[in-house]
Symmetry: C2
Subunit: 340 residues, 2 copies
């Protein structure tokens, strides 16, 4: 068997699985942003016809998966594994979304890195020969996240300038053993990196060291240069974190700014939508990837991208106990051809 493991943290797919379907469902605010035309469904309000925000989030996940399966031309019953997760305590957005599906389910927690984590494991399960069809799904919801992580919305608390806006969004991908692509060719699994940042209102800065670590390791492991990619996309570092990543690489003598962007910067309009440092939440990188980015790859706007979703692995409890914020970043290479 050809060598799958390359370097310290990277694996190469021998038969790169194909992204046969991808879809995203977003809230009203996201639908008013610059990526509006790339979304499959834009909700009218924050409830999606449900009675609570948590149920609305499950609703989005359900709908995103159904749309992705439809686009891939697969029935839900032919999906052999679902890899899913979200930000809510005990990941209830995912478990309640999938409880009636009858599909083998692996629950994940990777905070905002979950889209890359789920895509990594779906690719591993397929290229390993354990499935021919697998799904990767994630979501976040501004209202369910605010009340869980911060304050009741009714309280009307002010947000700091470094704070990011949790996206109301879900993204789903159907990965198949064979297909027309785009293809998942490499996976670099992140280690936890914690440089001691304690400000839960500045998560971009807390996650940036993990993003830098994974990207740097990816380039070392694979021998690829940043310029080999048409786009290097972190998610979601926002304004502050993405500048930190660019600066870290600059110190190594590498300028990645030419082909680098961040999902948290892309989702909202800086001028017209008041999201302070940009977007965040599992759903942010998920909807940017499954809408704008993968649509753009199908139109050959980009042919080789590195999708590096980042997560902040703290909880309100760990913050209250004085802990710093551990970050993680998982990177996935997606190419229009099977060879990077």
């Amino acid at each position: 068997m050809p060598q799958k493991r390359i370097g310290k943290q990277t694996v190469r797919m021998v038969c790169p699985p194909s992204i046969e379907g991808h879809a995203c469902v977003v809230g009203k605010k996201e639908g008013e942003g610059p990526l509006s035309s790339s979304f499959d469904y834009i909700g009218d309000d924050s409830y999606f016809g449900e009675k609570t925000w948590e149920k609305a989030e499950s609703h989005m996940q359900k709908q995103a998966l159904e749309l992705a399966a439809d686009k891939a031309g697969v029935t839900l019953s032919s999906i052999q594994y679902i890899f899913a997760g979200d930000l809510l305590n005990q990941c209830i957005a995912s478990t309640f979304a999938e409880r009636d599906r009858g599909i083998p389910f692996f629950g994940l927690y990777g905070a905002c890195s979950t889209m890359a984590e789920s895509l990594s494991l779906a690719a591993i399960s397929i290229d390993g020969g354990f499935a021919d069809t697998a799904a990767a799904v994630t979501s976040s919801h501004f209202c369910s996240a605010e009340r869980q992580f911060r304050l009741p919305l009714e309280y009307g608390g002010q947000r700091t300038p470094t704070a990011q806006w949790t996206a109301t969004a879900s993204g789903a991908i159907i990965l198949k053993e064979h297909g027309q692509g785009p293809f998942v060719t490499h996976v670099t699994t992140g280690k936890i990196v914690d440089l001691g940042i304690k400000d839960a209102n500045n998560m971009g800065a807390a996650m940036a060291p993990a993003a830098y670590d994974t990207l740097k390791t990816h380039f070392e492991d694979t021998g690829f240069l940043p310029t080999d990619y048409d786009l290097i996309l972190t998610g979601d570092l926002g304004m502050i974190g993405s500048d930190v990543v660019i600066d870290f690489f600059k110190k190594d003598g590498i300028d990645i700014s030419g082909n680098y962007n961040d999902c948290g910067l892309l989702l909202y309009s800086k001028e017209e939508q008041d999201t302070h440092a940009g977007g965040s939440g599992c759903g942010c990188s998920a909807c940017v990837l499954t809408g704008y980015i993968l649509n753009g790859m199908r139109q050959k706007r980009w042919n080789r991208i590195l999708f590096a979703a980042t997560g902040a692995l703290m909880s309100p409890t760990s913050t209250q106990q004085g802990e710093s914020i551990p970050g993680i970043c998982h990177a996935v290479t997606i190419c229009n051809s099977k060879e990077m």
Copy 2:
């Protein structure tokens, strides 16, 4: 390549990975129970030298992994993936335990099924050719779980007779591509099953349908009979849930009671320890498996076991919103030989 996928939900390992190391760390109460002699480390109190119960839980995970790696004769830096999860919001027991390790990390949430979920994915990553060494780790802590899921301990609330006792325990397994075994030969990944039970103080009953579903599917997929196993072990259904599983099989004309047991029944003494319906928590099945069971397999007390850990995928929020409790069960076949 030989067929890995058999039936609806089961995969067979072509080169069954070997459990090269396993270890468990438990609290004082667990150390006073009937499995006392099987634990690698028993804490003196609920703090393990830390200032909070959440940090104590991380401490147990750290220690369990170090002990397992030591027994396997591997350095921590040679572990290529850690699959870990726990019950705490945002899985902080796992992320804080692993944040200084520098090991690629996949965070999971499978509630009390996490030991089987993590072992499944570790086996898939190795047999798929993506790693030669991977770790599966999980934990729970009575005090951190009570205050998160139920009431502050200081409140002194009374527990119902159907309630289970969250184990203060952590278990870790080091899986390697080659070794002396025991071996992971089959993995049956569960789907979410929800029959509408809403009593969060009777989780055994809520999880039992998922256990029955996965076990039944496992036997259908593989063609194995319950009697082919020396031990079928669910975890953690406790007294009520395990009776339900036996009853469900009885209705199919199958008596599994002869070689069936449940981790929640094994961990505590019914007569001497007041745990009501038995043990629960990710750490319960984890410490029973990595102590009593795997030690027993090494002593050839059992040669073929089916480890079927169960999880209740609700949260306090979903319960407050009137939702029922979705259950899941993942089953892993562990054999002393590479062939079942």
